[in-house]
Protein backbone atom coordinates (compact mmCIF):
# COMPACT_ATOMS: atom_id res chain seq x y z
CA UNK A 1 0.00 0.00 0.00
CA UNK A 2 2.83 2.30 0.90
CA UNK A 3 4.42 1.84 -2.53
CA UNK A 4 1.13 2.70 -4.18
CA UNK A 5 1.04 6.00 -2.31
CA UNK A 6 4.65 6.64 -3.23
CA UNK A 7 3.86 5.89 -6.84
CA UNK A 8 0.94 8.33 -6.80
CA UNK A 9 3.13 11.04 -5.33
CA UNK A 10 5.93 10.42 -7.81
CA UNK A 11 3.44 10.44 -10.64
CA UNK A 12 1.95 13.79 -9.74
CA UNK A 13 5.43 15.18 -9.07
CA UNK A 14 6.57 14.13 -12.51
CA UNK A 15 3.57 15.77 -14.19
CA UNK A 16 4.32 18.97 -12.27
CA UNK A 17 8.00 18.69 -13.11
CA UNK A 18 7.28 18.13 -16.78
CA UNK A 19 5.30 21.34 -16.87
CA UNK A 20 8.09 23.42 -15.37
CA UNK A 21 10.27 22.74 -18.44
CA UNK A 22 7.98 25.09 -20.29
CA UNK A 23 7.86 27.81 -17.62
CA UNK A 24 9.25 31.27 -18.16
CA UNK A 25 12.45 32.00 -16.26
CA UNK A 26 11.90 32.71 -12.59
CA UNK A 27 11.66 36.44 -11.97
CA UNK A 28 11.35 37.25 -15.65
CA UNK A 29 9.58 40.61 -15.91
CA UNK A 30 8.36 39.68 -19.39
CA UNK A 31 6.56 36.48 -18.47
CA UNK A 32 2.99 36.27 -19.75
CA UNK A 33 1.63 36.45 -16.21
CA UNK A 34 3.24 39.85 -15.75
CA UNK A 35 2.27 41.25 -19.11
CA UNK A 36 -1.39 40.50 -19.60
CA UNK A 37 -3.56 41.81 -16.79
CA UNK A 38 -1.35 42.86 -13.91
CA UNK A 39 0.17 46.01 -15.56
CA UNK A 40 -3.35 47.39 -15.81
CA UNK A 41 -3.74 47.17 -12.05
CA UNK A 42 -0.40 48.84 -11.43
CA UNK A 43 -1.06 51.65 -13.88
CA UNK A 44 -4.64 52.38 -13.04
CA UNK A 45 -4.84 51.80 -9.32
CA UNK A 46 -4.05 55.39 -8.35
CA UNK A 47 -6.35 57.09 -10.83
CA UNK A 48 -9.20 54.65 -10.33
CA UNK A 49 -9.20 54.23 -6.60
CA UNK A 50 -6.56 56.59 -5.21
CA UNK A 51 -5.08 53.70 -3.24
CA UNK A 52 -1.28 53.46 -3.51
CA UNK A 53 -1.13 49.89 -2.23
CA UNK A 54 -2.06 47.96 -5.34
CA UNK A 55 -2.60 44.73 -3.43
CA UNK A 56 -5.31 46.44 -1.41
CA UNK A 57 -7.00 47.97 -4.42
CA UNK A 58 -7.02 44.67 -6.31
CA UNK A 59 -8.12 42.80 -3.22
CA UNK A 60 -11.02 45.01 -2.27
CA UNK A 61 -12.00 46.61 -5.53
CA UNK A 62 -10.99 44.98 -8.81
CA UNK A 63 -11.43 41.51 -7.37
CA UNK A 64 -13.47 42.55 -4.37
CA UNK A 65 -16.05 39.91 -5.07
CA UNK A 66 -13.50 37.18 -4.38
CA UNK A 67 -12.60 38.82 -1.12
CA UNK A 68 -16.23 38.91 -0.06
CA UNK A 69 -16.38 35.15 -0.42
CA UNK A 70 -13.04 34.85 1.28
CA UNK A 71 -14.49 36.60 4.30
CA UNK A 72 -17.47 34.31 4.03
CA UNK A 73 -15.12 31.32 4.09
CA UNK A 74 -13.74 32.56 7.40
CA UNK A 75 -17.27 33.08 8.68
CA UNK A 76 -18.15 29.56 7.53
CA UNK A 77 -15.24 28.12 9.48
CA UNK A 78 -16.46 29.80 12.65
CA UNK A 79 -19.98 28.64 11.94
CA UNK A 80 -18.80 25.08 11.33
CA UNK A 81 -16.92 25.00 14.62
CA UNK A 82 -20.04 26.30 16.36
CA UNK A 83 -22.33 23.73 14.78
CA UNK A 84 -19.95 20.82 15.21
CA UNK A 85 -18.54 21.43 18.64
CA UNK A 86 -20.87 23.56 20.70
CA UNK A 87 -22.58 21.62 23.43
CA UNK A 88 -25.35 23.61 25.02
CA UNK A 89 -26.23 21.29 27.83
CA UNK A 90 -23.03 20.33 29.65
CA UNK A 91 -22.91 17.08 31.55
CA UNK A 92 -23.37 17.25 35.27
CA UNK A 93 -19.93 18.30 36.32
CA UNK A 94 -18.49 19.43 39.55
CA UNK A 95 -18.06 23.10 40.19
CA UNK A 96 -15.12 24.64 41.97
CA UNK A 97 -15.06 27.98 43.75
CA UNK A 98 -12.03 29.57 45.23
CA UNK A 99 -12.14 32.03 48.10
CA UNK A 100 -9.92 34.82 46.86
CA UNK A 101 -8.56 36.01 50.17
CA UNK A 102 -7.78 32.72 51.84
CA UNK A 103 -7.27 30.53 48.78
CA UNK A 104 -9.65 27.88 50.11
CA UNK A 105 -11.29 25.92 47.28
CA UNK A 106 -14.89 24.78 47.56
CA UNK A 107 -15.72 21.66 45.61
CA UNK A 108 -19.44 21.49 44.89
CA UNK A 109 -20.85 18.29 43.39
CA UNK A 110 -22.88 18.96 40.28
CA UNK A 111 -23.63 22.04 38.29
CA UNK A 112 -24.37 25.20 40.17
CA UNK A 113 -24.28 28.93 39.74
CA UNK A 114 -24.57 29.50 43.45
CA UNK A 115 -21.63 31.80 44.02
CA UNK A 116 -21.23 33.20 40.52
CA UNK A 117 -21.95 36.81 41.35
CA UNK A 118 -20.02 36.84 44.60
CA UNK A 119 -17.09 39.19 45.16
CA UNK A 120 -15.26 36.94 47.56
CA UNK A 121 -15.33 33.83 45.42
CA UNK A 122 -14.19 33.13 41.88
CA UNK A 123 -15.09 30.16 39.75
CA UNK A 124 -12.13 28.07 38.73
CA UNK A 125 -11.40 25.06 36.56
CA UNK A 126 -10.80 21.60 37.95
CA UNK A 127 -7.26 21.72 36.59
CA UNK A 128 -6.68 25.17 38.00
CA UNK A 129 -3.19 26.37 38.72
CA UNK A 130 -2.46 29.80 40.15
CA UNK A 131 -1.91 32.12 37.23
CA UNK A 132 1.69 33.04 36.76
CA UNK A 133 2.37 36.60 37.90
CA UNK A 134 5.07 37.28 35.28
CA UNK A 135 2.89 36.11 32.43
CA UNK A 136 -0.11 38.03 33.73
CA UNK A 137 1.77 41.27 34.11
CA UNK A 138 3.50 41.08 30.76
CA UNK A 139 0.38 40.21 28.82
CA UNK A 140 -1.58 42.91 30.59
CA UNK A 141 1.12 45.32 29.49
CA UNK A 142 1.35 44.03 25.91
CA UNK A 143 -2.32 43.61 24.98
CA UNK A 144 -3.09 47.34 24.56
CA UNK A 145 -0.08 47.72 22.29
CA UNK A 146 -1.11 44.73 20.24
CA UNK A 147 -4.62 46.10 19.84
CA UNK A 148 -3.35 49.54 18.90
CA UNK A 149 -1.07 47.98 16.33
CA UNK A 150 -3.99 45.95 14.97
CA UNK A 151 -6.06 49.09 14.48
CA UNK A 152 -3.09 50.75 12.79
CA UNK A 153 -2.74 47.80 10.40
CA UNK A 154 -6.43 47.93 9.54
CA UNK A 155 -6.50 51.66 9.02
CA UNK A 156 -3.21 51.90 7.17
CA UNK A 157 -3.92 49.19 4.60
CA UNK A 158 -4.20 51.81 1.85
CA UNK A 159 -0.62 52.97 2.20
CA UNK A 160 1.39 50.11 3.59
CA UNK A 161 1.18 46.34 3.78
CA UNK A 162 -1.84 45.57 5.87
CA UNK A 163 -5.59 45.52 5.74
CA UNK A 164 -8.58 43.84 7.23
CA UNK A 165 -7.34 40.27 7.41
CA UNK A 166 -3.98 41.05 8.96
CA UNK A 167 -5.40 43.56 11.39
CA UNK A 168 -8.26 41.29 12.33
CA UNK A 169 -5.93 38.41 13.05
CA UNK A 170 -3.72 40.57 15.26
CA UNK A 171 -6.77 41.88 17.11
CA UNK A 172 -8.00 38.33 17.59
CA UNK A 173 -4.57 37.25 18.77
CA UNK A 174 -4.61 39.86 21.51
CA UNK A 175 -7.83 38.43 22.90
CA UNK A 176 -6.57 34.87 22.53
CA UNK A 177 -3.43 35.92 24.44
CA UNK A 178 -5.69 37.14 27.22
CA UNK A 179 -7.49 33.80 27.27
CA UNK A 180 -4.24 31.87 27.32
CA UNK A 181 -2.44 33.87 29.95
CA UNK A 182 -5.36 34.08 32.35
CA UNK A 183 -7.98 31.50 31.55
CA UNK A 184 -10.82 31.08 29.09
CA UNK A 185 -13.33 32.48 31.55
CA UNK A 186 -11.52 35.81 31.72
CA UNK A 187 -11.39 36.01 27.97
CA UNK A 188 -15.09 35.30 27.76
CA UNK A 189 -15.85 37.97 30.33
CA UNK A 190 -14.26 40.58 28.09
CA UNK A 191 -16.07 39.46 24.96
CA UNK A 192 -18.65 36.76 25.40
CA UNK A 193 -19.92 34.19 22.99
CA UNK A 194 -22.98 36.09 21.96
CA UNK A 195 -20.88 39.12 21.14
CA UNK A 196 -18.51 37.04 19.07
CA UNK A 197 -21.36 35.45 17.15
CA UNK A 198 -22.98 38.78 16.43
CA UNK A 199 -19.66 40.38 15.51
CA UNK A 200 -18.74 37.63 13.08
CA UNK A 201 -22.08 37.99 11.32
CA UNK A 202 -21.92 41.80 11.42
CA UNK A 203 -18.52 42.01 9.75
CA UNK A 204 -19.50 40.02 6.68
CA UNK A 205 -22.82 41.81 6.71
CA UNK A 206 -21.01 45.14 6.45
CA UNK A 207 -19.04 43.87 3.47
CA UNK A 208 -21.98 42.43 1.61
CA UNK A 209 -24.15 45.33 2.72
CA UNK A 210 -21.83 47.89 1.14
CA UNK A 211 -22.00 45.83 -2.03
CA UNK A 212 -25.78 45.73 -1.88
CA UNK A 213 -25.89 49.48 -1.21
CA UNK A 214 -24.13 50.02 -4.52
CA UNK A 215 -26.76 47.81 -6.09
CA UNK A 216 -29.57 49.84 -4.53
CA UNK A 217 -27.98 53.08 -5.71
CA UNK A 218 -28.27 51.78 -9.23
CA UNK A 219 -24.87 50.43 -10.24
CA UNK A 220 -23.32 46.98 -10.20
CA UNK A 221 -22.70 45.09 -7.00
CA UNK A 222 -19.57 46.38 -5.21
CA UNK A 223 -19.18 49.28 -7.63
CA UNK A 224 -18.11 51.67 -4.87
CA UNK A 225 -17.91 54.66 -7.20
CA UNK A 226 -21.64 55.11 -6.92
CA UNK A 227 -21.31 55.76 -3.19
CA UNK A 228 -20.43 59.32 -4.14
CA UNK A 229 -24.18 59.87 -4.42
CA UNK A 230 -24.54 59.63 -0.66
CA UNK A 231 -21.05 60.63 0.44
CA UNK A 232 -19.76 64.17 -0.08
CA UNK A 233 -16.81 63.04 -2.22
CA UNK A 234 -16.02 62.34 -5.85
CA UNK A 235 -16.26 58.77 -7.25
CA UNK A 236 -12.53 58.05 -6.96
CA UNK A 237 -12.47 59.00 -3.31
CA UNK A 238 -15.72 57.08 -2.83
CA UNK A 239 -13.94 53.97 -4.07
CA UNK A 240 -11.19 54.56 -1.55
CA UNK A 241 -13.71 54.97 1.25
CA UNK A 242 -15.65 51.94 0.11
CA UNK A 243 -12.47 49.87 0.28
CA UNK A 244 -11.87 51.14 3.79
CA UNK A 245 -15.41 50.23 4.78
CA UNK A 246 -15.11 46.67 3.62
CA UNK A 247 -11.69 46.35 5.29
CA UNK A 248 -13.29 47.27 8.60
CA UNK A 249 -15.97 44.65 8.04
CA UNK A 250 -13.34 42.04 7.23
CA UNK A 251 -11.37 42.92 10.35
CA UNK A 252 -14.41 42.53 12.59
CA UNK A 253 -15.30 39.14 11.17
CA UNK A 254 -11.77 37.80 11.23
CA UNK A 255 -11.28 38.91 14.82
CA UNK A 256 -14.52 37.38 16.03
CA UNK A 257 -14.08 34.13 14.13
CA UNK A 258 -10.48 33.59 15.21
CA UNK A 259 -11.42 34.07 18.85
CA UNK A 260 -14.47 31.88 18.61
CA UNK A 261 -12.58 29.06 16.85
CA UNK A 262 -10.02 29.23 19.64
CA UNK A 263 -12.75 29.16 22.26
CA UNK A 264 -14.63 26.22 20.79
CA UNK A 265 -11.57 24.15 19.96
CA UNK A 266 -9.72 24.72 23.22
CA UNK A 267 -12.71 23.90 25.41
CA UNK A 268 -14.24 21.23 23.17
CA UNK A 269 -17.31 23.36 22.71
CA UNK A 270 -18.31 23.67 26.36
CA UNK A 271 -16.87 27.16 26.77
CA UNK A 272 -16.11 26.20 30.32
CA UNK A 273 -12.68 24.96 31.41
CA UNK A 274 -10.67 25.87 28.34
CA UNK A 275 -7.00 25.47 27.80
Amino acid sequence: MRYLYLLLVVLSASVLFYATLDFPQWGDPNSPASLHVSPVYLQRSLEDTSVPNVVTSVLADYRGYDTMFETTVIFTAGLACFVLLRVFAPKMKDTYYRHIQSGVVLHIKGQTTLLDGSRDFERIDSRWVPADIILKTISRFLIPFIQLFALYVVAHGHHSPGGGFQGGVILGASIILLSISFDLRTGLEKIHERGLGLFSATGVFIYTGIGALCLILGKEFLNYGVLSKILPVDPVMARSLGIFGVEVGVAITVMAVMVSIYNYVSSEGRLDEGL
Binding site: D132, I134, L135, I138, S139, F141, L142, F145
Partner: protein, 104 residues
Protein backbone atom coordinates in the same frame (compact mmCIF):
# COMPACT_ATOMS: atom_id res chain seq x y z
CA UNK B 1 33.07 54.58 11.35
CA UNK B 2 29.41 54.09 12.22
CA UNK B 3 29.11 51.67 9.35
CA UNK B 4 31.85 49.56 10.91
CA UNK B 5 30.03 49.74 14.23
CA UNK B 6 26.80 48.43 12.80
CA UNK B 7 28.51 45.63 10.90
CA UNK B 8 30.24 44.59 14.11
CA UNK B 9 26.94 44.67 15.97
CA UNK B 10 25.16 42.60 13.33
CA UNK B 11 27.99 40.05 13.10
CA UNK B 12 28.12 39.78 16.87
CA UNK B 13 24.37 39.28 16.96
CA UNK B 14 24.63 36.53 14.42
CA UNK B 15 27.28 34.82 16.51
CA UNK B 16 24.88 34.83 19.42
CA UNK B 17 22.05 33.51 17.27
CA UNK B 18 24.30 30.77 15.92
CA UNK B 19 25.32 29.85 19.46
CA UNK B 20 21.64 29.69 20.37
CA UNK B 21 20.83 27.31 17.56
CA UNK B 22 23.83 25.08 18.29
CA UNK B 23 22.80 25.04 21.92
CA UNK B 24 19.26 23.98 21.15
CA UNK B 25 20.58 21.11 19.08
CA UNK B 26 23.43 19.99 21.29
CA UNK B 27 22.35 20.36 24.90
CA UNK B 28 21.07 17.26 26.66
CA UNK B 29 17.59 17.97 27.99
CA UNK B 30 14.60 20.28 27.86
CA UNK B 31 15.62 22.76 30.57
CA UNK B 32 19.16 23.20 29.32
CA UNK B 33 17.85 23.68 25.82
CA UNK B 34 15.52 26.42 26.93
CA UNK B 35 18.54 28.26 28.26
CA UNK B 36 20.14 29.08 24.87
CA UNK B 37 16.73 29.42 23.28
CA UNK B 38 15.77 32.13 25.75
CA UNK B 39 18.96 34.01 26.44
CA UNK B 40 21.07 33.84 23.32
CA UNK B 41 18.17 34.54 21.01
CA UNK B 42 17.18 37.65 22.91
CA UNK B 43 20.74 38.93 22.95
CA UNK B 44 21.28 38.10 19.31
CA UNK B 45 18.14 39.79 18.12
CA UNK B 46 18.92 42.85 20.25
CA UNK B 47 22.33 43.23 18.64
CA UNK B 48 21.05 42.64 15.13
CA UNK B 49 18.21 45.10 15.59
CA UNK B 50 20.55 47.69 17.05
CA UNK B 51 22.87 47.31 14.10
CA UNK B 52 20.01 47.64 11.64
CA UNK B 53 18.63 50.66 13.48
CA UNK B 54 21.96 52.46 13.29
CA UNK B 55 22.38 51.48 9.66
CA UNK B 56 18.99 52.89 8.73
CA UNK B 57 19.64 56.11 10.63
CA UNK B 58 22.97 56.67 8.89
CA UNK B 59 21.28 58.57 6.12
CA UNK B 60 19.69 60.98 8.54
CA UNK B 61 16.20 62.35 7.91
CA UNK B 62 12.85 62.15 9.66
CA UNK B 63 11.47 59.13 7.82
CA UNK B 64 14.61 57.07 8.41
CA UNK B 65 14.71 58.11 12.03
CA UNK B 66 11.15 56.88 12.46
CA UNK B 67 12.06 53.58 10.80
CA UNK B 68 14.99 53.09 13.12
CA UNK B 69 12.81 53.86 16.13
CA UNK B 70 10.41 51.20 14.90
CA UNK B 71 13.28 48.74 14.66
CA UNK B 72 14.32 49.56 18.20
CA UNK B 73 10.73 49.06 19.35
CA UNK B 74 10.89 45.56 17.89
CA UNK B 75 13.89 44.89 20.10
CA UNK B 76 12.02 46.21 23.13
CA UNK B 77 9.03 43.99 22.48
CA UNK B 78 11.23 40.96 21.92
CA UNK B 79 12.85 41.69 25.24
CA UNK B 80 9.46 41.74 26.88
CA UNK B 81 7.94 38.70 25.28
CA UNK B 82 10.74 36.23 24.65
CA UNK B 83 11.87 35.76 28.29
CA UNK B 84 8.22 35.58 29.37
CA UNK B 85 7.56 32.83 26.89
CA UNK B 86 10.64 30.90 27.97
CA UNK B 87 9.65 31.31 31.58
CA UNK B 88 6.14 30.02 30.91
CA UNK B 89 7.33 27.00 29.00
CA UNK B 90 9.76 26.03 31.73
CA UNK B 91 7.11 26.69 34.36
CA UNK B 92 4.70 24.40 32.56
CA UNK B 93 7.35 21.70 32.29
CA UNK B 94 8.03 21.85 36.03
CA UNK B 95 4.31 21.69 36.81
CA UNK B 96 3.92 18.76 34.47
CA UNK B 97 6.66 17.01 36.44
CA UNK B 98 9.51 16.83 33.95
CA UNK B 99 12.69 15.82 35.75
CA UNK B 100 15.83 17.87 35.03
CA UNK B 101 18.88 16.16 33.61
CA UNK B 102 21.21 15.09 36.42
CA UNK B 103 23.90 12.99 34.77
CA UNK B 104 27.39 14.23 34.07
Amino acid sequence: MLLALCSILIILGMVFLLGGSVGILRLPDFYTRMHPAGKLDSMGSLLVNLGVAIYVALDFNLANLLTSIKVLLIAVFIYLSSPTATHCIVDAAIRAGLEPWKKG
